[in-house]
Amino acid sequence: MTGSLTLVALVAVMFGAGIYVMLERSLTRVLIGFLLVGNAVNLLIYVMSGAPGLAPVLYDGVDPDEISDPLPQVFMLTAIVINLGITAFMLALIYRSWWLARLGDRGDLVDDDRDERESGEGAADVARSSRLDDTAILDILEQSDEEYEERGSEASARTGRDGADPADRADRGGDRR
């Protein structure tokens, strides 16, 4: 199997340039990188057909041995169309994030370090949001535990439903801890 050195070099250049752009913070530039990388990868698949020949259309008189390998072409054809779809989707994302986040003159920049850290702490809060649920059930369990009280005080002290009285609850919490 042989291939064209020119095309291999072109794949390398387009891929490298694409990655370079993709590493920026601007989403539009990321998309530009995506397009370059996409074209480079398509071309890489194309290189795998080996030596080019006639178009793979079997008109009368076409020798099937002389046509290009159609298999990579099939792979690429749908890839090209799907590239269009993904590009449109990313564009919609860019527009939406700019529009929603009111980035204004900042355009389409993704968050920088500081923003990331803030949202990271926010995420930790979300992760811990079930804590209140956990302590709620713990409270209920503890309220049901009998504490020892001197004879006689029980009948007078317990009138309301246990836990309905906040002061009472605080008292018990104190006892337990």
């Binding site: 340039a17 178009a55 079997l58 099939v74 169309v81 204004g104 713990l138």
Partner: protein, 1000 residues
């Protein structure tokens, strides 16, 4: 058995709908199903207990269905004595609990349909669990019970404690379940079978067995709430009472006991067995009883009592002798009867009095005598008083352990002492329960009670009576129990009975009652002692701190890893690619034997232009420049493809490239013009190095991939296949016929992407076609101001001939007569050509993709020339419907052959000669291609509708940010001025790329 499971699933699905019609009466209907299964199971009793007449041994009912033959996993079900006992408990108690629900809930209970459906489904899943023979089927049912338990505990979604309890139960039981899965895999691999029966008949030995069984036991003890996992069960009492009675007393928590009982015949002599089963069982029995003794809340008292009893049962069934096993299954039956009764009783008391705290209850027993009587029977059974099934079981337990002690077994001593102490605690907390729930307290007025109706009493009365009846008919029940127990070693002499004569077991029972009564008598000193003793086994605190620790660790790890944002991720991914793939490539070194410099002389020139464009695109500072340069690389590909035997690719790439440019420009007109360059120079150098490395690696990939190919391409056979499929264009034939499955997947991706684009841009709902001229009066009015304004600014506008339907909707500055005329002349020919491409694609370059893209481009032209109303006029259909129809057509083509007894995507053809178009081969694959065509057109339409028309609307209505006004409430009168301001503000770039703005 599979039929029953299917019925459970089906009825559960229908239950929510039935609930809408029937309200709470739906429970009466769905209770019929478990009752029917119960009856069917009873009919199987003779077979299972008596066995078939030929063999005489106890029989079993086996059902097997192929499921995953490659892994040797089958949907195997086996109904033997143990399974039958459990299944009877599950369906019997299940039916009664469902019956109880009909009175427990009111019609206006929120999410009643969901609750009913889940509870019924749980009954079915539990039935599957106890009858499953395949270990992996067992595991799936096992986890399904955990999930259903989660949903049922969390029934009151609005309550914090409900959610917390549900999550705790789920976390603990699925943790145990996963550990169990590892154990099951170990056992299944070592035993070379997934059948439980085979694993027990020929037990696995050695380290695999020790580890496997230990891990499975972890699952069992987490499910059955043994120490240290016991805390989830009391918490689960946040569930509605029927759930507690069924899942957390009779059924789900028994799953662990069942598994221990199931494994005991084969694995009770392993060295890991007794420490886990007896050690933890005894500990649990004591901890549960101890804590039950200090509860105010009656339901929690029962919950801790259940924890204690579960430990008790596991000790007994896991002890490993025939007599202990017999006692264990008797205990299991007894517990299912009395504990579910007591929970149901607490539910009634709770409803009637409005509280479950016994300090507030007084005199309930006098006014609910029937309830108190039957609760008393069940409580007595729990305490082990004669003449009740609980007593029968407990006598058998003492006898079995005494026998072990007589043989000098150390574990028997521990078990006996533990069980005796635990039983004393049981007597004490049983008295506390009954006294607390029903007694009259001095100086406290009787608690006011609501009338609950007699129907709600049916289930507890039946269950409680069953406990009495079972004790007297124990001889009739025993064969079922011995059929299981005889699988274990030991003399088969002992029989369950109410009266064994005076002997050591009776003496122990008397001791238990005596000391228990003493504990009740000394209630105050005991309470003082309990309050003074530190909580040694308050595992819920430890659980919470572990969970919190994990949360914090996850958050800090996330913050550490994700600090660098998107570019950081991409850099890491690319560096891994470079390092991994690069190293692999250099070590591999399958270089091609020969390499040509180029394929044809023009190639290096085209490639050079493309390379320069790619680099320039990477460093360009204006977005539009960058995109045009990317376009150059795309059109370069078109030339490369076109000049070397890939006309289909060239055509598609050219069309896609044009559409990409349009889509880009449509969005970029809204964004600021400059691409902000915030990256410091250091990072730029870093990025350049990564880029160069990545490019080099990909170049090497290309070379090595070429060199590494040693097999001939499969493409050699394709021409023949293509002709067989009546097509000359191999590429298209492969797309729509040979590899049609792939294409179906790919157009599904397109549908998803198009839907995604529309959903991102449309704020409220995406249905409907693009706006049309006459679609609503409101829209027309909105258009008017521009036209009127045009009279003032530019008289020519009114006199102009309208070449396009919506041309007048644009302001005069945005109109171009030249473009309108061109579009008018070219649109219809373009559509015709696109259809031509679609139909000749099978035999010449073209096909659904290219045709659809061309039609899409024609729509782009209409939109660019005359704006969004023109788009609506050109395609007055909903893009979503077009997408759906295209996909449906393609999928129908795929499945239609099935109706004719053929395989998916089998194709058939007929051909005829048409003038101009030439030879036409019309086959099923053509319909598939039409589907592709429609999907592609709809994709382009969605892009235009969203990124074009809808963004226009945002612009016109001045919706700059999402906080915005409801778009339809926008102030129409200001529209013209807003448009003008907008144009001025965003400057020349904006103006140059506004649709129809190309006017000189």
């Amino acid at each position: 058995m599979l039929v029953s499971l299917g019925l459970f699933a089906l009825v559960s699905l229908l239950t929510p709908f039935a609930t809408r019609l029937l309200g709470r009466r739906v429970f009466l209907v769905i209770a019929i199903l478990p009752a029917a299964v119960f009856a069917w199971l009873c009919a199987q009793l003779p077979l299972v207990v008596g066995g078939s007449e030929e063999t005489g041994a106890s029989g079993e009912l086996v059902e097997q269905f192929r499921w995953i033959p490659r892994l040797g996993i089958e949907l195997g079900f086996r109904l033997d004595a143990l399974s039958l006992l459990l299944a009877l408990v599950v369906t019997g108690v299940g039916a009664l609990v469902l019956l109880y629900c009909a009175w427990y809930f009111r019609d206006d209970e929120p999410s009643l349909g969901r609750f009913a459906s889940l509870l019924l489904l749980f009954a079915g899943v539990m039935f599957g669990l106890v009858t499953a023979d395949d270990v992996f089927a067992l595991f799936i049912f096992w986890e399904a019970t955990s999930v259903l338990s989660y949903l049922l505990i969390g029934h009151y979604t609005g309550r914090r404690e409900s959610r917390g309890a549900a999550l705790q139960a789920l976390t603990v039981t699925t943790f145990g379940g996963l550990v169990m899965l590892v154990g099951l895999v170990l056992l299944a691999v070592a035993g070379e079978t997934t059948s439980l029966a085979t694993l027990l008949a020929t037990p696995v030995t050695g380290a695999a067995a020790e580890w496997g069984v230990a891990l499975v036991l972890v699952g069992a003890i987490s499910k059955s709430a043994l120490v240290p996992f016991h805390f989830w069960l009391p918490a689960a009492m946040a569930a509605p009472t029927p759930v507690s009675a069924y899942l957390h007393a009779a059924a789900m928590v028994k799953a662990g006991v069942y598994l221990v009982a199931r494994l005991a015949p084969g694995y009770a002599d392993l060295s890991v067995w007794h420490p886990i089963v007896i050690g933890l069982g005894v500990l649990t029995m004591l901890v549960g009883g101890w804590r039950a003794l200090r509860q105010y809340d009656l339901k929690l008292l029962l919950a801790y009592g259940t924890v204690s009893q579960l430990g008790f049962m596991i000790v007994v069934v896991g002890f490993g002798t025939r007599d202990a096993a017999l006692a264990g299954v008797a205990l299991l039956l007894a517990h299912a009867l009395f504990k579910s009764t007591l929970f149901l009783v607490v539910g009634i008391v709770d409803h009637a009095a409005g509280t479950r705290d016994w300090r507030e209850l007084s005199g309930v027993g006098r006014r609910m005598p029937v309830l108190a009587t039957f609760a008393g029977l069940a409580a007595a059974s729990m305490a082990g008083l004669p003449p009740l099934i609980g007593f029968v079981a407990k006598e058998a337990v003492f006898e079995a352990f005494l026998e072990g002690v007589a043989h000098g077994e150390a574990w028997a001593w521990l078990a006996l002492v533990g069980v005796v102490v635990g039983s004393i605690l049981t007597v004490a907390y049983t008295v506390r329960f009954f006294w607390g729930a029903f007694w009259r307290r001095d100086g406290k007025p009787d608690t006011p009670l609501h009338d609950e109706g007699a129907g709600i009493l049916v289930s507890p009365v039946v269950l409680s009576t069953a406990g009495v009846v079972a004790a007297f008919t124990i001889a009739a029940i025993e064969p079922l129990l011995t059929a299981y127990a005889d699988e274990l070693p030991g003399p088969q002499e002992y029989h369950l009975a109410l009266w064994h004569g005076f002997g050591p077991p009776l003496a122990i029972s008397a001791l238990v009652f005596g000391v228990g009564a003493l504990l009740v008598w000394l209630r105050r000193p005991v309470a003082r002692f309990q309050a003074a003793t530190p909580e040694w086994f308050d595992a819920s605190r430890e659980y919470l701190s572990i969970v919190r620790g994990i949360d914090r660790f996850a958050a800090s790890l996330t913050m550490f890893i994700q600090r660098r944002g998107l570019p950081g991720y991409v850099a890491v991914i690319v560096l891994v690619l470079v390092a991994g793939l690069g190293t692999g490539l250099l070590l591999n070194g399958a270089w091609p034997e020969e390499v040509r410099a180029w394929d044809f002389p023009a190639q290096p020139f085209i490639a050079a232009v493309m390379a320069v464009a790619a680099i320039a695109a990477a460093v360009a500072s204006h977005r539009v420049t960058a995109i045009l340069l990317v376009g150059v690389t795309g059109y370069g590909l078109v030339m490369l493809f076109g000049m070397s035997g890939a006309p289909d690719l060239a055509l598609t790439q050219a069309l896609v490239e044009s559409l990409t440019l349009v889509a880009f420009v449509l969005v970029l007109r809204r964004l600021p013009k400059q691409i902000a360059q915030h990256n410091p120079p250091v990072r730029r150098r870093f990025r350049a190095i990564i880029g160069i490395l990545a490019g080099a690696v990909m170049g090497i990939v290309g070379l090595v991939a070429l060199g590494a190919r040693i097999q001939p391409s499969i493409s050699g056979g394709l021409p023949e296949l293509a002709l067989e499929a009546h097509g000359k264009n191999i590429v298209n034939v492969m797309l729509v016929d040979i590899r049609a499955w792939d294409t179906l997947g790919e157009i599904s991706v397109l549908v998803a992407v198009a839907t995604g684009v529309a959903s991102l841009i449309f704020v409220s709902g995406r249905t409907g076609a693009a706006p049309r001229l006459d679609s609503s009066a409101g829209r027309r009015e909105r258009v008017q101001p521009i036209v009127e304004q045009s009279n003032v600014r530019d008289d020519r506008a009114t006199t102009r001939q309208a070449w396009l339907l919506a041309g007048r909707t644009l302001g005069p500055r945005n109109r171009s007569i030249l473009i309108e005329v061109l579009v008018r002349l070219l649109f219809h020919p373009a559509i015709i050509v696109s259809i031509y491409l679609l139909f000749t694609g099978h035999n010449a370059p073209g096909g659904g993709f290219a045709g659809g893209l061309l039609a899409g481009l024609a729509l782009v032209a209409r939109y660019l020339a005359a704006g969004r109303y023109e788009l609506g006029e050109a395609v007055p259909v909903d893009a979503g419907k077009l997408l759906g129809f295209g996909l449906l057509l393609a999928a129908a083509t795929a499945t239609a052959p099935l109706l004719f007894g053929s395989t998916v995507f089998a194709s058939s053809w007929f051909e005829w000669h048409v003038p101009v178009l030439g030879e036409i081969s019309f086959g099923t694959s053509t319909f598939f291609d039409i589907g592709v065509y429609l999907v592609v057109v709809a994709l382009v339409l969605d892009i235009l509708r969203s990124l074009g028309a809808e963004v226009d609307r945002h612009r016109e209505e001045g919706i700059d940010t999402a906080d915005g006004n409801d778009p339809d409430d926008g102030t129409d009168g200001d529209e013209a001025s807003v448009t003008a301001d907008d144009t001025a503000a965003t400057g020349p770039v904006d103006a140059a790329i506004t649709p129809g703005e190309a006017r000189p």
